[in-house]
């Protein structure tokens, strides 16, 4: 067996088991840390698929950004006089039947389809090519994404700042 094959199986097992821990763990903080292992596993799989820049971005944006935001959300919502949950899961049986059926259908469709593969052999780093494409062919979506992120920041500030009646409209 080749080294890449062994690495693929290793990271696939890490990713899937961490995802399962994330879904079924009772403790939210455990879920968040399991999500971290899933995201790192997916980043490693990106490296195996020759996407070095996307792997680095995945680590920076997901593990460094979104996961920290989620941990802040966990900490902000589990303090003080909170109502505890009676049960942490609902609809377990119908949901698992439905999703196992969905998984089987998806995997069947993926395996049965005859994918056209063009193997271009040894590949170079993708950063240069990605930069050229972002600044050339895809410059309009690039700008649109920038505007979207700005709007998201403004929206988040508006929504998470307390707008109550007793401070006279001051935010």
């Amino acid at each position: 067996m080749e080294l890449t094959t062994i690495l693929f199986y290793l990271f696939a097992i890490v990713t899937i088991s961490a995802a399962a821990v994330m879904v079924f763990s009772k403790n939210i903080v455990h879920s968040a840390f399991a999500l971290m292992f899933t995201l790192i596993g997916v980043a490693a799989l990106y490296v195996l698929l020759y996407a070095d820049f996307i792997a680095a971005t995945q680590l920076l944006v997901y593990v460094g950004g979104i996961l920290i935001l989620i941990l802040f959300g966990v900490m902000l919502t589990t303090q003080g006089r909170t109502f505890s949950f009676k049960t942490s899961t609902v609809n377990l049986t119908p949901a698992s039947i439905l999703s196992v059926a969905a998984a089987l259908l998806l995997i069947y469709a993926f395996v049965q389809t005859d994918w056209k593969i063009t193997d271009s052999g040894v590949r170079d780093e993708t950063v240069h090519e990605l930069g050229m494409m972002l600044m050339g062919e895809y410059v309009l979506p690039f700008i649109a994404v920038g505007v979207l992120l700005l709007i998201a920041i403004i929206g988040a500030i508006l929504m998470s700042t307390r707008l109550s009646a007793n401070n006279d409209g001051e935010v």
Partner: protein
């Protein structure tokens, strides 16, 4: 290289684990994490198609999908915190203000 079917099957399994989480969990933050997991699964399939076709355009698509995921995370957590202020709980079964 491993065959592309394996990557796609892994992506399908991750996506379905995300679906299970969205369907069974009651905590809004865990539901949110499962949505992130599903986004990651789709990105993985896009990257594997891109690698097996020798075409970098798929990675551009994943880059945009990442930025949209970041925006979605920010807005989603702001909404969850706003709900928490009103309900003192992030239980999605208790968010029934608009329920008929």
């Amino acid at each position: 290289m491993v065959e592309i079917d394996w990557y796609l099957a892994l992506s399908a399994i991750l996506f379905t684990i995300g679906i299970v989480g969205v369907l069974i969990r009651r905590n809004a933050i865990v539901v949110f994490m499962c949505v992130e997991l599903m986004l990651n699964a789709v990105n993985l399939s896009l990257i594997s198609f891109s690698a097996y076709h020798g075409d970098v355009s798929g990675q551009i698509l994943v880059l945009f999908s990442l930025s949209v995921a970041a925006a979605e995370a920010v807005i989603g957590l702001a909404i969850i915190i706003a709900i928490f202020r009103n309900n003192l709980s992030v239980d999605i079964m208790k968010v029934n203000l608009l329920r008929w």
